[in-house]
């Protein structure tokens, strides 16, 4: 299963990068979101999935899924969320000031 998940995470990366290479702000941000999903998935995948119960202590269970990557992903998800939120607002403001959502039209060599 891990192999399939790795493939999935890679697909998320590929599609994310493809979107990232586009011109429109929305696609670019979608790209970053996909990439971050991919990254989180990698973290999950790399910790032997499905070995044992959820990492919640129960009396008669002795084998648990590795809880550490889950904690790490949790942190990463929240952080990605913060960054994505910021990026969204930034995209909006960038659009309103630059009057375009096309990154190729925002090459720019003026520095205000």
């Amino acid at each position: 299963m891990e192999i399939i998940l790795t493939v999935l995470a890679s697909i998320l990366f590929s599609t994310g990068i493809y979107n990232l290479l586009q011109k429109q702000l929305l696609r670019i941000i979608v790209g970053t979101v996909l990439i971050s999903h991919g990254a989180h998935l990698f973290l999950l995948t790399m910790s032997q999935v499905k070995r044992g119960a959820p990492p919640l202590l129960v009396d008669d269970v002795s084998s648990y899924t590795d809880p550490l990557p889950q904690a790490l992903i949790l942190t990463a998800i929240v952080i990605s969320f913060g960054v994505t939120s910021f990026l969204l607002v930034l995209a909006y403001r960038t659009y309103t000031l630059n009057k375009t959502d096309n990154m190729e039209e925002m090459r720019g060599s003026d520095y205000d």
């Binding site: 991919g38 973290l43 550490l68 910021f86 960038t94 630059n98 925002m106 720019g108």
Partner: protein, 493 residues
């Protein structure tokens, strides 16, 4: 004493929250920030002194022993950089009120500043790979907030690119952590070093290490990953540019130093020789960029890149003296880049333009600014007896000992071109007939010059007083090279 080790990270965070709450009266926020940063500086200075005297302090957060909890490692290297950070930060805090609009100050410059300091200090001190990611995000988030401060058109445009690049490298960071955890089952740096040593960094680890290198290299602005840097450092407010120029790329370089002297040291023939090539190109292309523009701020910004090349050079050479050179250069470059950005900010305000072709004769009205800029340029180019010189000797010596003649020649050539790029500003901007439209705010310009003066003074001290500093750097580089001190300090039972 051990618990004090958390304070350089936690206190700025606290200060950030307080500064965010104090938005009603900007004067109070300003005063609070100034006092706080001075207090931090004194505290960190004391802590650094203690660590230099008594050796590494390791805090195991929450009392959980490494590698299970997060270790905060106050080794001499980390505390040295934290100290430098606080010095530059304090200078920036006193510089800020003169260049920021009151609204920018009110809308969280100070809070974001303290957050940045917390992130930077945390990145320097953490002993945990994933925690390093978290601190990277903290400092990046603060930098995102700072870079958009002011909301200019070009500013937002470049900020967007800046955020994307960093976001991408952050994601790559997570993936590297995932890979590393898959192979080694741990994220503690010291534990990683220990475990990887036992398997002698087999092939896949080297590849993963390279990805991690690129993660840091994007932030450090190593060739060919620095494209985002020049424009995004030019657009923000001068004080923000100064903080970025002095601190941000350095965190990347620090991370490369840390990881590539502690963990991935078993395939140096492959990894470190790649670094040498990259270092060479970084120096060359950086300085070529600096020569390509008439925008004075951009010139200084581009000059960040060859400096990164120098530091990478030391890592690539991987000998104790070359590492010492990198560390010395790192510390020196933080100080001098801060100073240069402060001074360039003052110059731009004084001249009312960033275009070198439109300014001349500034020194006639602002001699202090001119001369300090002149000295700073010499320091940057590594002219003795200033701080850049010491790092440069060590690096060149390392390069020559390893018979990397091409590298040495490129390094020297880029030093020369750095000097050329800076002297063009001096010769065509400061010298010449007194220009029209030079600012009359002599008092403000003088105030803007002072932080630069202080930092340049420090850089001069780091050169002339090198004997007071160098033995520390030497012992740091030996510790880095030997690795055992770090590992045993963190993993002690």
């Amino acid at each position: 004493m051990i618990n004090l080790i958390y304070l350089p990270i936690v206190l700025p965070l606290l200060a950030s929250v307080i500064a965010a709450l104090l938005t009603k009266n900007t004067n109070i926020t300003r005063l609070f920030s100034q006092i706080t940063s001075v207090v931090f500086l004194i505290f960190v200075g004391g802590l650094a002194f203690y660590i230099f005297q008594n050796g590494t302090i390791v805090g195991q957060a929450g009392g959980w022993a490494a590698p299970y909890g997060i270790s905060i490692v106050g080794d001499p290297l980390a505390i040295l950089l934290v100290l430098t950070t606080n010095i530059i930060g304090t200078a920036a805090i006193f510089y800020a009120p003169k260049v920021l609009e009151e609204k920018q100050e009110r809308f969280y410059f100070y809070a974001l500043y303290f957050l940045l300091i917390a992130g930077v200090s945390g990145a320097f001190m953490t002993g945990d790979l994933f925690n390093l990611f978290v601190f990277f995000e903290v400092l990046l988030m603060a930098s995102y907030g700072l870079i958009v401060l002011g909301n200019g058109k070009a500013q937002l445009r470049e900020s967007f690119k800046y955020v994307l690049f960093n976001l991408f490298s952050s994601m790559l960071f997570i993936v590297s952590v995932a890979y590393i955890y898959a192979i080694t089952g741990t994220v503690n740096l010291a534990h990683l070093a220990e475990r990887i040593e036992t398997v002698e960094q087999q092939g896949i680890l080297t590849a993963v290490g390279m990805i991690l290198f690129f993660v840091f290299a994007v932030k450090a602005a190593v060739f060919p990953l620095y494209y985002w840097l020049p424009n995004s450092y030019v657009v923000p407010n001068p004080v923000v540019s100064a903080l970025f120029g002095a601190l941000l790329t350095k965190v990347g370089i620090y991370s490369i130093i840390r990881v590539y002297t502690l963990i991935f040291v078993h395939e140096t023939a492959i990894t470190h020789s790649i670094f040498i090539w990259l270092a060479m190109f970084t120096m060359l292309f950086g300085v070529i960029g600096a020569l390509s523009t008439h925008n004075v701020k951009l010139i200084v910004t581009y000059n960040i890149i060859p400096a990164v090349g120098f530091m990478l050079m030391g890592i690539g050479l991987y000998t104790p003296e070359a590492i010492a050179g990198s560390v010395y250069y790192l510390m020196h470059d933080m100080v001098i880049k801060g100073a240069l950005f402060f001074l360039i900010g003052a110059l731009v305000i004084a001249a009312g333009t960033k275009d070198l072709r439109q300014m001349s004769g500034v020194i006639q009205k602002y001699p202090l600014l001119g001369w300090i800029f002149f000295i700073a340029s010499l320091i940057l180019a590594g002219v003795p007896p200033f701080s850049g010189f010491i790092g440069k000797i060590l690096l060149l010596e390392g390069g020559l000992r390893q018979e990397e003649f091409l590298l040495v020649i490129v390094a020297l050539l880029s030093s020369l071109l750095i000097l050329l790029s800076m002297m063009r500003i001096f010769v065509y901007g400061f010298w010449g007939e007194l220009m029209d439209g030079l600012s009359n705010e002599t008092k403000r310009i003088r105030q803007l010059t002072i932080p630069g003066v202080v930092l340049v003074g420090l850089a001069i001290f780091l050169g002339i007083g090198a004997e007071l500093v160098y033995p520390q750097i030497e012992s740091i580089s030996n510790m880095l090279y030997e690795r055992t001190d770090y590992i045993s300090s963190v993993l002690k039972e």
